[in-house]
Structure formats: C-alpha cells, structure tokens
C-alpha cells in the first residue's frame, strides 16, 4: 500500500467501510465499461458495414431487434441489484447506524469548520463538552468555551485512535465547508446551523501508513512558503556555506528562511515524506482560502492519543 501513489484508480484506504465503497465504484464501472464497449463495437460495425457506397441501399424496415430490449432490461436489473444490494443498505449502515450511545470504546469529537480552518473539539476527562458561546470567542479561546481548560481543542490537526469507532459532529460557523478524508472515504458537508454526526473507524495507524509510503520529490519554490503541514526530510541537505540545512529524518515546516536556504544551495527537488500522510481536505468551495483549508489527520495508537489529549489539556 502506498498512499502517495495516485493517478490511476483509488488511493489506498484505511477505513473499515472504505472497501465497500470501492467495491461499488468498481462494479458500477464494470457495468459502464461493458455497456460502452458493447455500444462502441456495435456502432463501429454499423459504420463500416453500412457506409454509403455504390450499389448499397438503406433498408426502410429494420429486422426486429430483441437484443436491445434484453440489454435494457439487464441494465435495469443490474442497477436494481447495485441499488438494493449495495448502495442503500451499506449507506444506511455507514451513515445512520451510529455506534450506540453506550458503546464503551467510541470517541466523540466535534468538528467546527470556519474560513479557513478546522477545529477539533474533544471533551475533557469528565467526558462532557463545555458550553460554548460566540460572544466568548477570542484568539486564546477560539471556540468560545465557558472554561477552555476543561476541554481539548486542536486546530488543523485531527487526532483519533485506531480501531475504535469515531463519531464526529460536523458543523460550520460561517459558510458551507466539506469534511473530506479521501484516504478514509469520509465526506460530509459542514453546514452552518446543522450539527450532523458521522462515524468511521480506521484500520491503520499513522506510523504504519508513514512506513508504507514512498518518499515524494517536492519541487522547491516560493509556493511552498507558508504551507503549514510538517514534513520529514528523507535526505540531508547542506547549505551553501557547508552547514547542515536539513538532516535526514528532520521534521520541518517550509518557512521563508528554509526555502531561501534551499534555493541558495541550488536544491530544486527535495525528497520528503508528509509527517501526517492522511489529509483532511475541504470539499466545498468556501472562499478565497478554500484550497488551503487543509488539516492533518493523525491516526494514533491508544498511547499516542492519550498523550495528545493530555498535551492539549495542559495548554
């Protein structure tokens, strides 16, 4: 599995429900390709056999075609099977059969989208979400919680534990955004005024995905400045004066100084891996910063997740 290899078909999938989504997409495409090839061959055959040429005349009456009727009925039946056998039941199970409220291992998170950031809000040790009010919003308390020290809030970094059902209440406080994790086949609109729960479960941790992915060669240029996602260097780079600019294994963010240093050292491409290879993208046009509205997803082990929450609580 290499989640960075894209461009041919699906990306890798690290969710429990993802395989059924991919399976249906495959089946629908089998049907589509079969129909297209069938039509195509028939059409090409007709174009050659019935081309206008001396001595050839068109037929006014056609032979009675039964095949087309059978084909149409077959298409309708296949669609019925896809609909009743796959789409409706599986959709119902992944969208609406939420983990029971008393399921002991589920994690409940609230996701609040705004132009152009994602907030992930976890209850503190009491298991309760603090009341929030827009009037209390300030930089140190971005969600306007009554007592911000009692809950954990993470901006643009979404942590959750592996192999446990995660319930996310998705909403927005300004315009419509789209909560989308392509590698997990998770997508839902974040609509202001609605607070809709979705759920999913991951099958692999961030560390496993990181180890499986191959490095990517990133083109160095001014466009990288200001990107907030952390990378891990897969090669060492020395600056023009001989000092270490990056060591292999370094975690770094593309700042202005670093990009300048890399450019100064004549580096055009750099071998890196994303520290958090699973990405959360905004799927609905939400304004000028839409394409930059990205959050990192970290699928943690239990220990990592506990440490993450503890770290956020300590702040």
């Amino acid at each position: 599995m290499d989640p960075v290899k894209f461009g041919y078909w699906f990306p890798a999938d690290v969710s429990t429900h993802g395989p059924s989504v991919d399976l249906l997409i495959d089946y629908v495409h089998y049907l589509a390709v079969a129909l297209f090839v069938g039509w195509g061959i028939f059409m090409l055959y007709c174009l050659i056999r019935f081309r206008q040429r001396p001595g050839h005349k068109a037929q006014y009456e056609l032979p009675h075609f039964k095949g087309s009727k059978y084909a149409e009925v077959a298409v309708a039946l296949i669609e019925l099977v896809l609909l009743l056998g796959f789409s409706i039941p599986v959709w119902a199970s992944i969208r609406y059969e939420l983990p029971r409220t008393d399921a002991p291992d589920k994690v409940v998170v609230r996701c609040i989208a705004e132009q152009f950031a994602w907030y992930f809000w976890y209850p503190g040790p009491d298991g309760e979400f603090e009341p929030a009010s827009a009037d209390r919003i300030k930089p140190s308390n971005p969600l306007g919680l009554r007592d911000p020290s009692r809950d954990a809030v993470s901006k643009d970094e979404f942590h959750f534990p592996v192999n446990r059902p995660i319930v996310v209440y998705v909403t927005s406080r300004d315009v419509i955004h789209g909560f989308n994790i392509p590698l997990m086949r998770v997508k839902h609109d974040a609509v202001p005024g609605l607070n809709i729960p979705i759920w999913f479960q991951a099958t692999k941790t961030n560390d496993e995905i990181f180890a499986a992915m191959s490095p990517e060669r990133l083109r160095i240029g001014p466009a990288l400045v200001g990107r907030k996602e952390p990378y891990i260097a897969m090669e060492a780079v020395k600056a023009a004066d001989g000092s270490d600019l990056l060591k292999s294994g370094d975690t770094f963010v593309f700042g202005e100084a670093l990009v300048k240093g890399l450019t100064g050292a004549g580096v055009q491409e750099l071998s890196v891996k994303l520290k958090f290879p699973v990405e959360l993208a905004c799927a609905q046009l939400c304004g000028n910063g839409h394409s930059g509205m990205r959050a990192a997803v970290s699928i943690d082990t239990e220990e990592q997740f506990a440490a993450f929450i503890a770290g956020k609580m300590a702040k």
Binding site: F42, Q52, Y60, V191, E279, Q284
Partner: protein, 610 residues
C-alpha cells in the same frame, strides 16, 4: 382547450401576421420579430459567450497547470491588472470569479441560448411549417432580456470586488457574504430566467397551435419534440430558482435571512453583531431550490442536442429512425423524471435515509430512458447507407461522448459510491462529457447541418474535418483525465491542488488537461474561419442540399419573411427515407402522395396566409 383539431385553431396561424411588414434596418435586424433573425441573434451572441466562457477557463487552467507561477505573457497580466493578477499570478479570489462565471456563462449564456434560443427559434417554426413563432414580440423581448442579462453578467467583472465568486451554484451563506458581484449575478440571473420563461411559453404555444395541416404530433420531427419537452422543463423548473434568486437578493440587499441560519460567526465575530441579521434561515433551502431548476436544466442542455443528432442521423443514414415513438416517450419520461432527482446533488448534506433512498432510486430510474434514447440512435445506424458528412461526424461523435457522460453519472447517483466521488474532479469530468463533448458537439453538428438553410451556402468540408478531428481528440484528453483525478480524491474548485499530496500525485494529468484545453482553442480556428467565410463565399447549394425530408427544407434558403412561399401540407412521418418501391431515397413530408415517387415537392392547393 375545446378545439380538438390537431392543428389548433386556424386563426392562430394567421392572427400573428400583423408584425411582418417592417422593413427598416433597425426593425429588420436589431429589434426583429422574425424568428429566423432572432435565432441568428441568439446564435451569434451565444457563440460569443461560449468563446468568452472558454477563455475564462483557459486562464484558470494556467493556475492549475502551473500553480502560483506568473502568466506567460506580461501583456495578459497587465490587462488583468494588479488586483486580479498581482505580479502576474492569478489571485485566488479572481480564480473563484473565473470559476463561477465560466459555469454561469457556459450554461445560461452559451449552451442554452444556442440550443434553445438559436436552434429552437430558427428551426422549430420551419419544421412545423409555420410562418413564424406564435408571439413574435414576446420572442423579441426574450432575446433582448437575455442580452441585458448577459451585459449585466459581463459588467459584474468591473464592480468593486469583481464578479460573483461563489461558484455557478452560489451556495449561501458564502454567496450571502460575498462581494457586490454576487448581487449583480442575481440580478443577471433574474433577467436570464425571465428570458427563458418568455421563450418557453412561446415554444409551447407555437408547437401546439401552429403546426401545418396534416402535421400531427406523431409526425413531428424528434427535434421539435425535444424542444417541446425542453420548453416545459424551462417553464416549470425556472420559477423556483427565480424565487430563490429574489430571496437571496433580499438577503443581500435588505438584510433578510432566508438562507442564513442563526449563530453565524464570520471572521471570529458573531455575524449578528456586524450586520444585525436575525437568523433562522436555512442554508440548504437554497440548494433545494437551485437544484430543482438545475437538474432539469441538465436535460434542457441535452434534449435539444439529442434532437439535433436525431435529425442528422436519420438524414445521413438515409433511413427512418429506429423506434421514433419510443424516442418520444423516452424524452417525455426523461423530462418528467428530471423533476424528482434533484437532491442527488445533495447526498453529502446529511439528508435522512428515506430521502436518500428515494433520490438514488429515481436517479437510477432516469438512467433508463437515457439508455433507451442512446440505444435507439445507435440502432438507427443498422441497415443505413451512412454518409459521413461533417454534420454526421459531429452527430456520431455525440453518441459515445454522451454515453461516457451518462454512464459516469451512475456512480454519482448512488449514495455509497458518491461518497468518494462527490465534489471531486470526477463530477467535473462527468457533466462536461454530457455538455461539452456531448451537447457542444451536437451544436456544432447542427450548425454545419442547418447552415445551408440559413445562408444558402454550405460550410467548407476541408475546414470541417480540420475542426472535427482535433476537437474530438482534445475534448477527450481534457475530460478523460478528470475521472482519474477524481478517483484519486482530488476535490474540484481548488485554486492550488498541489497543496495536497493526493493533488500532487495527479498534477501531471492537470498539465495534460491544460495543454489540451489551450490546443482546443487553436482547433476552433478552422471553425471560426469556416463560419464567417462561408457566409459569403461558401459553395452555393439548392434549398435541400442534404436531401432531407422535414419541412424546413421545403422553404427557400434562406427562407424569406414568412418562411414558405406556399404553406406546406404534411402527408407523412418525418423520416421517410428509402421507402421501398420509390425511385428517390427520400420522401419529403410535404410531397403529395401521388408525386412522392419523384421525391419533389408539389405545390399545395391552399394559398399561404400571407
């Protein structure tokens, strides 16, 4: 209606004639009430908008292929100015304006005006043997209201903050808090919708009331049926969007909150503090009203195209269409179903299982008539004597292209597979296959096909080939990669897709799309030359150069004011080609039975209304 005569009241055919005497240039060519002049006005204006909308997209493709790099030509950056392209790099907000206006212009100002306004206006009265539309003044008003809507849309680029930038779908609350351009967009839309409503009423009345004697509904060419169904779609689907547009206008201008829920916080400040809005609205209400129009709109875009293709396929296979009645029933069923599938655009908004089950079921059902129509057209090739004329090439290309567009709608219509593909480039690939290599190819087919009727001259075949082949190949190399980009999970409407690792993975495809798009522009040069040069210098042809059967070919080329020298009478169905036992291979609808074997029109005994 008490009058059960299939051709309506005889008075309807004559009563309109009053407005046909004007001769001054202004009244003849500018404020014309002649359906043919109005059709040409629609056609030329629509083609200009089509090219303009294409230009917007070519600009966007630069940013998508070479993110954050300055435009290749300094003069272009200078033309756009420092606000739109600071340092020559397209600004993100301007990119969004280009996106929103590309969609709006292509759909509402380009394709629909050509498919309905131009072809419908020009061809329908001729094909039904009528001297003009039922309401010539309404027809003129429809064009000029459309024209005003277009001017408003174009002008919006120059207002502070630029044009609308919330996508052609204009979802609130984004569109509510957007700059002034959105207000202009809404006003422009009200004009365009009004124009469509005026046009659709006119089409329905004309087709129902003004058919030539003997032209029963099931003798109508399929193109007329397609236009009739389209007119009903426009008439019934547009009013909800017009209402929604006015509501959004109220929200923006008068501080109402039809689409604004309570408790919005914009830029970390409660929205009520800055604007005093009351809240209590629903952001999703707009989506329902919008898609209630915009899904039937898809069929407004595709039905006239199918109509054009049907005419050309019948004419160039030299045999009747296979399953004419089936085609008609399928088109009517398609039109009806198109009103109850709209929420499949909204599967990711959190609708309940009952709703999503209903809408994915209706969506699967609506695929059946589309499959039937396509199958009928392809089966029509069997047993033909196929002429590969330029219009036929475009019409034939339409069939597989529309097939790809239609088939890729299936995974989007099922909620489960839509989960991964919704809002990705897959969607863009899907609907562009329907509208660009689909409908636009059919529109080109129609232009090449009816050009001799409009001008009395044929377009050049060599330039036609130079236009067709590159266009077909490039359309595919633009839209096919989009399916793979969407499969990779890349979302649409991204200013810079290389922000994402899954976007960087498919960036080479993005380059391919951009270069294909720019080359597609070059491939249109033969068409533009052909279009203008043939007007005066094309090969002169007779009134029926394609040896076709339908009534428009009974009129002189170009048809005079009032269309027919003698109003035709209809004796048979629309596609009587290669009738056994007859000498010619076509038998025009108006040819009298006794003289039909010669394949020549005979003068009907009834004098014309004029």
């Amino acid at each position: 209606m008490t009058d059960t005569h299939p051709n309506g009241s005889p008075g309807a055919r004559e009563a309109h004639g009053g407005g046909h005497g004007e001769t001054s240039f202004l009244w003849k060519y500018v404020f014309s009430q002649d359906h043919k002049v109005i059709g040409i006005q629609y056609g030329i204006t629509g083609l200009c908008f089509l090219f303009f909308g294409f230009t917007l997209m070519m600009l966007m493709r630069w940013q998508l292929a070479y993110p954050n790099q300055p435009l290749p030509w300094p003069w272009l950056a200078e033309l756009l100015g420092n606000i739109r392209a600071p340092g020559g790099v397209l600004e993100a907000g301007f990119y969004n304006q280009l996106g929103a206006m590309h969609g709006t212009i292509m759909v509402f100002l380009g394709v629909v005006p050509i498919a309905v306004g131009a072809f419908g206006n020009y061809v329908v009265p001729l094909q039904i043997g009528a001297p003009d539309m039922a309401f010539p003044k309404l027809n003129m008003a429809s064009y000029w209201v459309y024209f005003c809507g277009g001017v408003i849309m174009l002008a919006s680029f120059f207002v502070p903050g630029g044009a609308a930038s919330s996508g052609w779908t204009s979802y609130p609350p984004l569109s509510n808090i957007a700059t002034q351009g959105q207000t202009w967009w809404l006003v422009g839309m009200v004009f365009l919708i009004t124009s469509s409503l005026l046009g659709s009423v006119n089409f329905i009345v004309t087709i129902v009331q003004m058919r030539a004697p003997g032209l029963s509904m099931f003798r109508l060419p399929f193109f007329v049926w397609a236009q009739l169904v389209t007119a009903f779609l426009l008439l019934l689907a547009f009013p909800p969007l017009e209402a929604a547009g006015v509501l959004q206008l109220m929200d923006r201008v008068f501080g109402t909150s039809f689409f604004l829920p309570s408790g919005l916080v914009v830029n970390a400040i409660p929205y009520a503090q800055t604007t005093g809005y009351s809240g209590g609205g629903s952001a999703l209400l707009w989506q329902h009203l919008f898609w209630f129009l915009a899904h039937p709109e898809v069929y407004v875009l595709i039905l006239p195209a199918m109509g054009i293709v049907a005419e050309i396929v019948a004419n160039n296979t030299r045999k009747p269409l296979w399953g004419y009645r089936l085609l008609v029933y399928a088109a009517i069923f398609l039109g009806f179903m198109s009103f109850i599938v709209w929420a499949h655009h909204m599967f990711m908004t959190g609708m309940g299982t009952v709703m999503s089950t209903f809408f994915q079921t209706t969506t699967m059902i609506i695929s059946i008539p589309s499959v039937i129509i396509l199958t009928c057209m392809i089966l029509s090739l069997w047993g033909g004597s196929i002429r590969f004329s330029i219009p036929m090439l475009f019409a034939l290309a339409f069939l597989p292209m529309f097939a790809i567009g239609g088939l890729t709608g299936l995974p989007l219509g099922l909620t489960l597979s839509d989960l991964h593909l919704h809002d990705t480039y897959y969607v863009i690939g899907h609907f562009h296959y329907v509208v660009a290599p689909g409908t636009i190819m059919a529109l080109f087919a129609g232009i090449y096909y009816w050009y001799p009727k409009v001008t009395g001259r044929k377009m050049s075949g060599l330039l036609g080939h130079l236009h067709f082949w590159p266009t077909l190949i490039l359309m595919n190399s633009i839209f096919m990669p989009m399916f793979f980009m969407g499969m990779a999970g890349l979302n649409r409407r991204m200013y810079d897709q290389t922000v994402y690792v899954h976007g960087r993975g498919v960036q080479p495809l993005s380059l391919m799309v951009s270069w294909s798009a720019w080359m597609l522009a070059v491939a249109q040069i033969p068409f533009i030359i052909n279009f203008f040069k043939s007007w005066k210098a094309g090969e002169k042809v007779n009134d029926n150069p394609w040896e076709a059967t339908t009534l428009e070919w009974a009129a002189p080329s170009p048809p005079p004011h009032g269309n027919f020298t003698t109003l035709p009478e209809v004796h048979r169905g629309p596609y009587e080609y290669s009738v056994p036992g007859q000498s010619g291979d076509f038998c025009p609808q108006h040819a009298r039975p006794d003289s039909a074997s010669e394949g020549t029109p005979s003068a009907p005994p009834v004098p014309a209304a004029h």
